[in-house]
């Protein structure tokens, strides 16, 4: 059964310098609070994996936590560029950022292979694209029945996966619903799993339409962090703070403005919502 812990303690014990860390969430249920705790604890040298690194990864990269990014689309959805990401890639600030770049279909299947404990997955993808020339995690495989050549992508098995969910019960069983993205696969592919949740319910989880339920025995720690996805959202608990995403463009464009934001909103904040 998963332990129910404070976010501070869970991050301290589960996320180590140099780890490959997947913080997943397809626009919905993005684990912002956990990412801020990772920054606060000064974890460095991370390989960050996510299909759609957006503002939370801009923050992690700008704060210097990352050495490498494994991804398929890095932008501020509907707004524009990720300026901290670009500054790291283009100018090496605050560190150079290595990239392992894929398409969405490729990244999704890398997690599927990881969750299935297979070394690779097969897809009809990357055809004619320059992407395979920039990564060593795309190759070709031949169908033994038809002779057709298909793309193979290497399994992605993060050291740690962090996701945010709506609910857990006292045994650490977790339920999330709405857009569930690739989170189940990212969790089952990982060596260690941390889930932040909006709510810990008494008694059994009430089944929801469209929900994913993960038993506590595949999770290492659950931390109660209401609002832990903000400015992303948790369906049924909050709505997406689109204004924040739009304001981020100005905050992140300038290094000093960003560093001030980081001081005020991450470094100097003890997350008072954390607890168990």
């Amino acid at each position: 059964m998963a332990d129910i812990r404070s976010l501070h303690d869970a991050v301290r014990d589960l996320v180590h310098d140099g780890d490959t860390v997947a913080l997943e969430g397809f626009t919905h249920l993005i684990p912002f609070a956990a990412a801020h705790e990772i920054i606060r604890q000064g974890v460095t040298g991370l390989t960050l994996a996510r299909m759609t690194p957006d503002v939370v990864h801009d923050q992690l990269i700008g704060a210097g936590a990352a050495r490498k990014l494994v991804f398929s689309w890095g932008g501020n959805p509907g707004v524009g560029s990720l300026h901290r990401f670009r500054d790291a890639v283009e100018n090496g600030w605050p560190h150079p950022l290595e990239l392992d770049e894929h398409s969405h279909a490729g990244m999704a299947n890398r997690y599927v292979a990881g969750a299935s404990k297979l070394p690779f997955a097969v897809l009809r993808g990357y055809r004619g694209s320059g992407i395979p020339g920039r990564t060593d995690t795309v190759a070709t495989v031949t169908c033994p029945f038809t002779g057709e050549q298909l793309a193979a992508v290497a399994a992605l098995n993060p050291d740690v996966t962090v996701v945010h969910a709506q609910q857990a019960d006292r045994h650490g069983n977790v339920q999330f619903w709405g857009l569930t993205g690739v989170q189940k696969e990212a969790v089952l592919a990982a060596g260690r799993v941390l889930v932040t949740v909006e709510e810990i319910v008494e008694g059994a989880l009430e089944p929801r339409p469209g929900s994913v339920v993960l038993p506590g025995w595949v999770i290492d720690a659950v931390a109660l962090v209401p609002g832990g996805a903000h400015p992303s959202y948790a369906a049924g608990y909050s709505v997406r703070d689109n204004d924040f995403y739009q304001r981020w463009d100005a905050v992140s464009r300038d290094r000093d403005t960003f560093l001030r934001w980081l001081d005020e909103n991450v470094w100097n904040v003890r997350n008072v919502r954390e607890g168990s």
Partner: protein, 260 residues
């Protein structure tokens, strides 16, 4: 009200958006990228194709948003969907499964064979590569849909003689390339810009100017294109947006966070 009047009443972006929506007439479903494609697809549902099934890569099938989503993961997309599936299922069973009629893409750079770059741009010898968001779903959307529509603003920066990087193949280097690569479907069938519509020449697969929006000249379009843009012998002028189209578009944008 004449077509030219309609054009006078609206901006170039609106001409692009209205014509992009029209390109979805008759489609059963559409795999929708965020930004301009989402604007066009949502407008199509309010005008030329009320039954159009919107499929977003975040996992929603049959979404009916009341306002323009800012991101492909806005809550309303899930709340109003017929079905929500996981992202791996979306890409494997629905997109790769060949179930999508039309894929609708944006682009940062587009070449004459409708290949797309959304990865990096060359900014000259003294500057590092400029970083773009990356591939997202585009390579497999272009490979697996029945047809592909592309919408982007018509500038020399966007429509380039040679891509700095090939993220997504449209027609490759010409006819037969898609088949040789084992790609399904017709590939890009139209590129809708704020100046007009480009379509691949059936013989060469090169994009040619096939329609201009009202008030736009061939010279303007050629001037805004980074290659020597050929003009179709049967060049037409797009019908000006109707009142219904414009009011639907403006209502959609007013309700949404942002249009594109």
């Amino acid at each position: 009200m004449s077509g030219t009047d309609g054009a006078a009443r609206c901006g170039r972006d609106e001409l692009m958006e209205v014509n992009a929506a029209r390109a979805l007439a008759g489609a059963r479903n559409c795999f929708v990228g965020i930004g301009l494609p989402s604007t066009a697809a949502n407008l199509a549902r309010r005008t030329v194709n009320p039954d159009l099934v919107l499929v977003y890569e975040s996992g929603t099938i049959g979404s009916r948003p009341t306002r323009l989503p800012l991101s492909i993961g806005d809550g309303e997309l899930a709340d109003t969907a017929d079905a929500v599936v996981s992202v791996p299922e979306m890409f494997n069973y629905w997109l790769q499964g060949g179930r999508i009629d039309v894929g609708f893409l944006g682009a940062a750079q587009l070449d004459r064979f409708a290949n797309i770059n959304t990865t990096v741009v060359d900014r000259g010898p003294d500057r590092p590569e400029g970083r773009l968001p990356g591939a997202g779903g585009a390579p497999e959307i272009a490979a697996n849909c029945g047809a592909v529509l592309i919408v982007l603003r018509h500038t020399r920066r966007n429509l380039v003689p040679a891509l700095d990087f090939v993220t997504t193949v449209g027609h490759g280097a010409g006819p037969g390339d898609r088949a040789a690569l084992g790609m399904r479907g017709a590939g890009p069938t139209a590129v809708i810009t704020d100046l007009g519509v480009l379509r691949p020449d059936p013989d060469t697969a090169e994009l040619v100017l096939s329609a201009l929006h009202p008030g736009v000249t061939t010279e303007q379009a050629r001037e805004a294109t980074g290659w020597d843009l050929r003009v179709a012998p049967d060049l037409t002028v797009t019908q000006a947006p109707t009142d219904a189209e414009l009011s639907a578009l403006r209502a959609l944008k007013a309700a949404g966070g942002r249009a594109s």
